[in-house]
């Protein structure tokens, strides 16, 4: 990402970098400033504004996206760190434009959002969490989501939504297996 002129000399930073990244199944190639945060890249370069920025220091979890399937905080990564990787954001979760993803559906049915600002981050975290824990108990849910802050809901309905989403995902999984 940066080149040294000669050994011993101070490092010369490249200002820009040609980034190649797959986001929600689409391949993007963009020349970007190397200091650009991944969250800013998604929001301002790709106009995927569903990823929200709540603290810019990696605590609130609003900016959570999936990087090669793993939940990460996009405000703590530089965009260049996602070079040649695959990202999923909230916009890429539901299959069709009409349908909600089972996690999104569960959030609506359990009234698990109010202002909605933290919601995309929660949903991406839940997505990664349920992949690891398809049948979680409440204690696991609480531990698994402790990295996302919500200031509106008091979390109770989020826990209920995660339980319901797990149920939805398990039943669609078993339907697939039967088929």
């Amino acid at each position: 990402m940066y080149a040294f002129d000669e050994p011993g000399s101070p490092p010369q930073f490249c200002e820009e970098y040609d980034l190649t990244v797959t986001v929600n199944g689409c391949l993007y190639q963009r020349r970007i400033p190397v200091r650009m945060l991944l969250s800013d890249f998604l929001r301002h370069e790709l106009h995927l504004t569903g990823t929200h920025v709540g603290c810019e220091h990696g605590v609130c979890g609003c900016c959570t996206v999936l990087l090669n399937g793993e939940a990460v905080r996009s405000c703590l990564l530089l965009a260049v760190q996602a070079d040649n990787m695959a990202l999923t954001t909230i916009e890429g979760l539901a299959g069709s434009a009409e349908e909600l993803h089972p996690i999104q559906r569960a959030f609506q049915e359990k009234h698990a959002l109010q202002c909605g600002f933290c919601t995309p981050g929660f949903i991406m975290s839940v997505h990664a969490f349920l992949h690891e824990h398809p049948d979680p108990d409440e204690r696991q849910i609480r531990q698994g989501l402790a990295g996302n802050l919500c200031r509106c809901t008091g979390y109770q309905n989020i826990i209920e939504a995660v339980k319901l989403a797990a149920q939805y995902l398990r039943s669609s999984q078993s339907q697939r297996e039967e088929a």
Partner: protein, 797 residues
Amino acid sequence: MATRWFGAPVQRSEDPRLLRGRGTYVDDIDLPEMLHAAVLRSPYAHARIKRIDVSAARALPGVHLVLTAEDLGELLEPSPLLVPHPALTQPRTQLPLARDEVHYAGAAVAFVVAEDRYLAEDALELIDVDYEPLPVVASLEQAAAEGAPLVHADVPGNVAAHLVQRVGDPEGVIASAPHVLRERFVMERGSAMPMEGRGVVARWDPHEGMLTCWISTQGPIPIRNGLAAMFRLPEHKVRVVAPDVGGGFGTKIMMFYPEEILTPLAALRLGRPVKWIEDRAEHFLAANQERGQIHDVEYAFDDQGILLAVRDVFLHDTGAYTPYGIIVPIITACTLPGPYRLRHYYSEFKVLYTNKVPVSPYRGAGRPHAVFVMERIMDRIATELGLDPLEVRSRNFIRPDEFPWDVGLVYQDGGPTIYDSGNYQAGLERLKEALGYEQFREEQRRAREQGRYLGIGVACYVEGTGIGPYEGAQVRVESDGRVYVSTGVTTQGQAHQTTFAQIVADQLGVDPRDVLVTTGDSQAFYWGVGTFASRAATVAGSAIHLAAVKVREKARQVAADLFEASPEDIELADGKVFVRDAPQRALTLGQVAIASNPLRYSYGENARKLMQMQLAGPRPGPALPEERGGPGLEATAFYSPPRGTFASGVHGAIVEVDPRTGMVTFLKYVAVHDCGRVINPLVVEGQVHGGVAQGIGGAFYERLVFNEEGQLLNGSFMDYLLPTVEEIPPLQVEHVETPSPLNPLGVKGAGEAGTIPVAALFASALDDALAPFGLRIREMPLDPCRLQQLLKEHQNT
């Protein structure tokens, strides 16, 4: 008309959009040619500005504008005082950019606009400010001390306001009472911390002569009016929109924050759209805070535990300015009597300046403090007399047949503090049962034998909600049969698009999904105040109801003319307008909407059908009879409440305390809540859940820590701890409904309630759990370290 949707747990119509990441928060607005702003903030809590050199910043390529105080011209005016009060003798509000002196760390000193935010922040680094530090007032105690430094050189004693209210003869009663106690209670600062910070996007359109601002605010219409005056534009040429707002909790009702003036100013000067987005670090330094008070209270009671008189003298920390007048301490004073028959009450407060972030209401707005004091008193009476704390509360409650109850004080809106309705004993009974109060003592005894410290706490409150002055709404049925509603209040998570639709749906006989609600756009509805003080459902909801009733009556009139029937025989249901007992004589609501607008050039299938009906006979008079009051199924209504409605509730919890670590775990939490008639139980319970979580934060985790230089020491989410899902216990919410007689819906506010009693409840439960140690909690918030420290200090004495 049978009520169907009001009271139903309707799923939110906001959700599908927000769940897909398709909300539009201010930072999501991206305009062509848009520039980005950043703010240079004072590193000192109190300093003289000797010199500012912006030349290097201005010279940085990509920088378009650098503003300091001297560049503001006639805009260099202190912000308006939002709520004046005769007792506020020394009001001070802030300038958009500091001139000569800064009064808190975080105050805006310069404003930079550049091609992108990264460059704008680079430019901030190049601004050279020469500060001369001045003595700092960092706490209430210090502000009140003899010979304290002055926050504002021309405000003696740092006293902004001084107010005394008196009911009955408190001194006389105290002098002759059998029991009199004195205590001091201390509340420290906290912060609302919505997940979305503040933000502004401003665009000047020279062709239309129109300034448009998207602001993450709770009050776009007052901001519209203010900006129009400042920039000398007609009000209708300034449009202020609060798009999706990521939480407010009071922080965003403030005006004017400097950035709300500077961003439109930059857009006007540069002729390009400008965006400023507050980051979290800035939010800690420059978004208003609340809670700091110190109460010295004297109270008298008799042998039966009846509270006879209270004398409460308190200090209120307003920070460096008084933008919101003295609303918060007035609310504290008026909330303190709570649900109790207090007939002798003296309340005195002083509002003091400190070199800290200004104070304006934050969810609860002075009420948690008052409830803390009163509920500590109730618990103490019980302890002193060896009575059950719930029994003491019952003995002091105002009874259901005593409403309306005049507390005898002047409320924040300038009117009398009169409780409209309530049933406090019913709430307490519900709580006792849900909490398992009677069984708990046995459980507690067994736990203590095992060395575990369990405690039970309760706290009651009465909350003034739904204050005026007014709100309004327009309801219109369009030719597609859908209903469009606009109102001046904003939404920052309260589900107004759903609950307001429910109100309309019942009146017009449609599905709430066919009612589309616009909030927070000054161009969609011209008049209004804003969403704060738990008032939107009560005040705007009532206006919407009144407008919907007018539209319904008009639809009946229009249909009656078409069917040659009497309006009394016309009904509205399932999207249709029909003659009672003759349902084949029916039109859709959309067709009636078309018929209400006598145009020749109507288009579409609905219109064709209708034409045939209208051509049936010769028209007797004008196409638009005068009594119709204009074309269209449209009506506007306003609602101005005679005074506030008073919601109430009681919370109870069982906690376990580990005296070695100071850690507290909630084992059970029950909230009994009375907000009058409930429009949507899902939404109300959600509000209570969120309020309780915020209250738990404010009781046990969230304390803003300032050092003696007035520097915030825990200005990040790593250090200022918002509760996570691991800290919030499962909550049980129970409803009591005592409808308000003051408004047509019978509703009371629900937004803030959850937060209000939590600190008091927490103290009550801790006292109970730690009874073997004899500790009494007199401060909020606590945290594990502080609790440990208190236990240690207590054991040493």
